[in-house]
Structure formats: C-alpha cells, structure tokens
Subunit: 217 residues, 2 copies
C-alpha cells in the first residue's frame, strides 16, 4: 500500500469515528430525556439531520447504541479504579485519586450514568454480563485500596465489602443530584467529595490536610 | 347508623385495603423484574390469579400503580427525615437516627427504590411534582441536622448542600448493591452505615463510641 493510501484509510477511519460519536451523543441526549424504549432510531436520525439508514450504517440496532453507551462508561470507570489502585502511593492517596477520578467521571457522564441505571434491564445478556464483570473488577480494586488502609491503621471500619459499596455509592449517586444549573462548581463538589470519602472510612482530619491532592480542575 | 353497620363498613374497608396491598405487591415484583413499560395489567392480574377488571376496580390504570409505589416510598422517607430532625437530641444522635431509619427503609423497600429511579420519567407530571416536593423537604430536614452539627463543632465539611446530598447518596444507593442473597445481615449493614455516615461529616471516632445507638434490629 502506498503512503497516500495509508493516509486515506486513516482519514476514513477518523471520519467514521467522528460520525459514530455524533450518533452516540444524540442517542445519549434522547435516551436521557425520553427513555430508551420511547426513543426510536428515526428520532435519533432526525435530531442529527440525517436518515435512518445513516444511523444503521454505523450501528446495527438501537440496542447496540445502548450497549455502547453503558459499556464505555463502565470501561472508563474501571480505568479510574485501576489507575488509582496501581498508583505509586499509600492507601490514603490512592483513595483520594479514586474519589476524584470517579466523581469527575460521574459529573462528566451524568447522563450516561442515569441511562445505565434506568435501562440496565434492557441490555442484552452478554452486555449485562460484561458490565457486571467490570463492576466486580472495580469493586475488587477499591477493596484492595481499603484493605491497605486498614493495614496501615489509617482506615477504620468493620467490613471491607460494605465499605467499598458505601464509597462507590457516595460518588456514583452524584448523578442523581448533580444539576448543571446549580451554582456549585464541579471543582467544589469534587473537593468536598474527596474529603468526605476519606473521612467516611475513618481518616483523621489532621491527616486529611496532609493529603497530596490529585489534580482536580 | 347501627353499630353492626359500622363494623360491616370497617370490615369492608379493611378488605379493600388488603386487596390493594396485594395488587401493589405483585406490581412491585413485576415492575422490578421486567420494567414498568414491559409489564401490563393482564400480567399483574394473572400473577394474582385474578382478572383484569379486578385490578381496574382498585386502580384506575397502570400509571396509578406506579404513582402509588413511588409516592408512598417518598412519604415513608419523609417520615424518617422528619422524625430524625424533630428528635429531642443533639445533631450527632439526630443524624444517627436519620442514617439508621433511612438505611432500614431502603433495605426494606429496595425494589421500590429501584423502580422509582428507573421509572421516574414515566410518572405523571403532578406526581413528579409532588415527589420532588417531598425530596426537597427531606433535603431541608437533613440540612437542618447538618447545620446544627456544624454549630456545635461536631461536624466538619465545606458546603451543607453538598454534604446533604452526599449523605443521602450513601444511604440511598444501598438499593443498588444490597442483595438478599448476600451473606451480610441487614443489621451489620445498618450499623456500618451509621458509623460511616457520621464519620463522613467529620464526627470524631472517639465521639462515635459514645453515640446513643438507635434501635437497629
């Protein structure tokens, strides 16, 4: 293949990716506003100023759109958990990184999170299974961080499985109350979440002040 | 009216109430398993071993079932918040009562909570408005408790609106991970939730041990 052929292929792939993103983004808005079952591919095409065959060229079916929205979200969440668990730092700093990364993600993708919680039942079984597997991996990473903190004597709670779910809940639930119209900045929410997550597992307030704050803005 | 007429009326009302409860309970199970839009009144009647007209005699429509399930849940949650905020106790004990009462309710009604989060979009506008109003009242009560704790110097966080949502999130999200098949007892979850909620708003661990624990079991 010549160099100009390579470039043409790369350009074609870029354009394909951009088109897929545009379709997904409209689907997210419509599923979020009206629900998955009440949204049809016609409405998505119309919103894009395109035709139904255009959408079907990029996605086999409406369910593929929903599956993509939910799977990608969970993959991003898993990336956050793995980066935090693998950081070259102590458990307090790892948990801080987890809290900041996860809250950022939920704020950024609050429509995706809403759609996932609402429409989980409508996902195909294989996608459901893949997502459950990612959720288990996230929980495993978070429990790892929490156990380390118990060992160093910085965290204090009875049961690590419950603590992991409570921490996940604090950050995940942000989707349900975060409102773009609110006067609170994302940075303020993330900063307070970081502090309350650390306190919730028993980190002393004196130790909090010494936490290496991860990049927030 | 004679006394025996009174008794007959009371009995008739009791039976009506029992029938409504049975219908609601089947509707909860089916909406939870299959989703609101995928469940029809036929299926609810069939599950009850009754006819469709029997269901329609007690509930005008399927939407009235959904509305009842969600409104009652929020009313119970509001009762918990008002009882806690109105307790003759300091803010730490009030928050403990809130955490225990709310977690108990979410564990007891985890199917209702799931249905509410999934199907909120399908509620009629007047029911949506009434539920939003109850949610605002719950938040108002919780913020009241949190402000008291800041004043007594027992709670430590930056913004009371964010803290209120974070605490609500910790307890509400239990619906998403609580599994009746898990080996954890409800009591163990409630006890740990109580401790982690108090720590999350900055209550010292030494003060935790002195908390008058509300009735858990």
């Amino acid at each position: 293949m010549t160099k100009s052929n390579d470039k043409a292929t790369a350009l074609r792939n870029d354009i394909l990716a951009i088109k897929r993103e545009r379709i997904l983004s409209e689907a997210v808005d419509l599923f979020y506003e009206n629900g998955y079952l009440s949204t049809n591919v016609d409405a998505i095409a119309q919103q894009l100023g395109a035709t139904k065959p255009f959408v079907y060229y990029h996605f086999k079916s409406k369910i593929e759109l929903l599956s993509d929205i939910c799977s990608r979200l969970m993959l991003e969440a898993l990336d956050v958990a793995e980066a935090a668990a693998g950081a070259d730092a102590g458990p307090v700093e790892k948990l801080a990184q987890f809290a900041v990364g996860f809250t950022k993600l939920v704020l950024e993708r609050h429509k995706h999170v809403s759609i996932y919680f609402r429409e989980e039942l409508n996902l195909p079984d294989d996608v459901k299974a893949a997502i459950s597997d990612m959720r288990r991996k996230i929980d495993y990473r978070l429990r790892g961080i929490l156990k380390e903190g118990v060992q160093t004597g910085e965290f204090h709670f009875s049961n690590v499985a419950v603590a992991s779910q409570i921490v996940s809940g604090m950050v995940s639930y942000t989707f349900a109350w975060y409102d773009e119209a609110r006067p609170l900045s994302k940075e303020a929410i993330i900063r307070q979440m970081l502090e309350q997550v650390l306190m919730s597992v028993g980190v002393d307030r004196a130790r909090l002040d010494a936490v290496q704050k991860p990049q927030i803005a």
